[in-house]
């Protein structure tokens, strides 16, 4: 997946944000999957939609692509009011489902040709675009094989090819790298990053490192609500607290436990986590922590292999804003339960 994106077949996009959602709510029976979601995605951005399982990411994308109807609120995508059965919307967007399904009897090339025809491509233009997408997604060798015989990764790449075929203004990718191998994952992330400024990409995931790698703006959802939204650097600056990472030498379990207790008692520490040989200290006052942390280490008699003040990451922001799911909110599979509400 290395070739460059070539010309778009869509028309000039109208001015304004690429996506604007106004108070979107979605209820499935007693489950409130989206709760008054407001969203504004600038044109040309690579926008990360972040959240734990059950946060409402997929529901948001399904509404914005016209597959589902909001219970309340409205949204516009590329200047088109979102609705079911709205071909004007679908001319401007590309969409990849988190579990893309295709016709197993069809060949990969035939699927892309069908999608191209639906977008109004024909003749040599259609063949050229299909050929480009097959090269770009590394599916040339499999193009004339039936999709039923494709692996999960190949189906994902075919999904990306069909979503990009017409050069969409806005690309919705729902967990796009979930079934890719590391190489495919890297290639896809590079491809998405390469679309910056050319198309607007909305990219949902719960893999925070992927978002940090390619997104310039992020919205964090939790149980159907937008917790925060903005440029990645601003979120890091606003929400990520200073963090110190300590790696004690092995074989000092008792001393490390004492150190953790003392760190938790320190006025400048807000969170101390010790796991697999790493002590992670989140602090409210970086200067006070820098001055007070090492004396506590010495006092506990802990020998350190390394000590560093870490750059806050999106994971820190995420944990700060969303936090780990309380055990009571996890279902039997370890997923976060969506919020249940009574009838309104």
């Amino acid at each position: 997946m290395t070739a460059a994106l070539t010309g778009s077949v869509t028309t000039t996009a109208p001015a304004g944000p690429a996506i604007e959602a106004r108070g979107l709510s979605k209820r499935f029976g007693a489950i409130l999957a989206l709760d008054g979601l407001d969203l504004r995605v600038p044109r040309g951005s690579v926008f990360g939609l972040l959240g734990p399982n059950g946060a409402g990411k997929t529901t948001t994308i399904r509404i914005l692509t016209g597959l589902a109807r909001p219970t309340a609120g409205s949204a516009s995508v590329a200047g088109v009011e979102v609705a079911l059965d709205e071909p004007r919307l679908h001319r401007r967007v590309g969409y990849l489902d988190q579990d893309p399904r295709f016709y197993s009897w069809m060949k990969g090339r035939e699927l892309l040709e069908l999608v191209g025809r639906l977008h109004g491509l024909a003749g040599s233009e259609l063949r050229t675009r299909v050929g480009e997408m097959l090269i770009r997604t590394g599916l040339v060798a499999a193009a004339d094989r039936r999709i039923g015989g494709y692996s999960g990764g190949m189906r994902q790449r075919l999904g990306i090819a069909q979503a990009l075929l017409h050069g969409p203004d806005i690309l919705f990718l729902d967990e796009p790298v979930s079934s890719l191998d590391p190489e495919g994952r890297r290639d896809l992330l590079e491809l998405i990053a390469g679309l910056r400024g050319e198309a607007t990409v909305v990219f949902s995931t719960h893999v925070l490192s992927d978002v940090e790698r390619i997104c310039d703006r992020v919205a964090i959802l939790d149980r159907g609500r937008r917790v925060t939204e903005g440029p990645l650097e601003e979120l890091l600056a606003a929400h990520a607290r200073p963090i110190f990472r300590l790696v004690p030498a092995s074989g000092q379990d008792e001393a490390v436990a004492t150190l953790v207790e003392r760190l938790r008692a320190a006025t400048w520490s807000t969170d101390v986590a010790a796991d697999r040989g790493l002590v992670r200290v989140t602090v409210s006052d970086a200067d006070a922590a820098a001055a007070g942390l090492l004396p506590l280490v010495v006092a506990a008699g802990v020998v350190l292999e390394s000590f560093e003040r870490a750059r806050p990451t999106l994971e820190d922001v995420f944990l700060e804003l969303v936090g780990p799911a309380p055990t009571a909110e996890l279902d039997g599979r370890g997923f976060v339960r969506p919020r249940e509400v009574g009838p309104r």
Binding site: L67, L84, D85, H90, R91, D97, R101, Y103, W105, G120
Partner: protein, 253 residues
């Protein structure tokens, strides 16, 4: 109907690639060939089976008996196959997620449904013509030739009745996510229409009522009322397709 041409092409390719068209055409050919044979040899078969124990007197078979046998077989096997063809057409795509794949492209939902219904009607059309051709040929060999224009017109009416059964099932397939539920609706409608067909004032305007004018046309009988039953069936198919569209355009995928 944005995307209708591309979707029809896909549907027809699917009918061929999944062997639905070849299988249905083969079954219909067997129905077509066997109908005159059954009509011709039923007296001999009964005589052979019954031996000297039964004394059954049957009139000498005629070309009309051959046609009646064809109409009966198509009305039963054909209707069942129409139900089988239509039962999963929309429900399966909704359930598997392929409908969402297509309908996030500039394809209207009306085009999506119309392409499917036209493809099913095409498969039934090809198969019915093959059955009719086989039946006509064996009727020629075993009895006497039937007039081609009348026989062709009768074939169109038989096809229309099958499309009506497919359209009822198609509506069920659109309303639900279950192929079995759609098939249930198709089979139930077959039974209900069969019962209603004995009511003279209603029966002639039902798809099952197309049999009578079709017979008249095939056998060259005078004064056959084709228009009323034909228009009624066409309207029924249109109404069923319209209801399917009204329901489908509001469905989440």
């Amino acid at each position: 109907m944005s995307g209708f041409g591309a979707l029809l092409r896909k549907e027809l390719l699917e009918q061929w690639r999944t062997t639905r068209l070849p299988v249905v055409a083969t079954v219909f050919l067997l129905v077509g060939l066997s109908s005159p044979l059954l009509a011709r040899f039923t007296p001999e078969i009964l005589k052979a089976v019954g031996g000297d124990q039964f004394q059954i007197v049957l009139p000498t078979p005629t070309a009309a008996d051959a046609y009646d046998q064809l109409a009966k077989n198509l009305g039963q096997f054909g209707a069942l196959i129409a139900v089988l063809l239509a039962m999963g057409s929309v429900a399966t795509e909704k359930e598997r997620g392929t409908a969402a794949l297509i309908l996030t492209k500039p394809a209207g939902r009306a085009a999506f449904l119309a392409a499917k219904l036209v493809a099913i009607a095409t498969t039934l059309g090809v198969a019915t013509v093959i059955a009719a051709a086989g039946a006509w040929f064996y009727t020629l060999v075993l009895f006497e030739p039937l007039a081609v224009p009348g026989f062709a017109a009768a074939t169109i009416l038989q096809w229309l009745a099958l499309v009506a059964f497919a359209a009822i099932t198609f509506l069920g397939s659109t309303l639900t996510r279950s192929s079995l539920a759609a098939a249930g609706l198709g089979v139930a409608s077959f039974i209900v229409l069969g019962i209603l067909s004995i009511v003279p004032t209603i029966g002639r305007y039902l798809p099952t009522g197309l049999g009578e004018p079709a017979r008249g046309l095939a056998l060259g009988q005078p004064g056959v009322d084709v228009l009323g039953p034909t228009v009624a069936s066409v309207v029924l198919i249109g109404v069923l397709a319209g209801i399917a569209w009204l329901a489908f355009r509001r469905q989440e995928l």
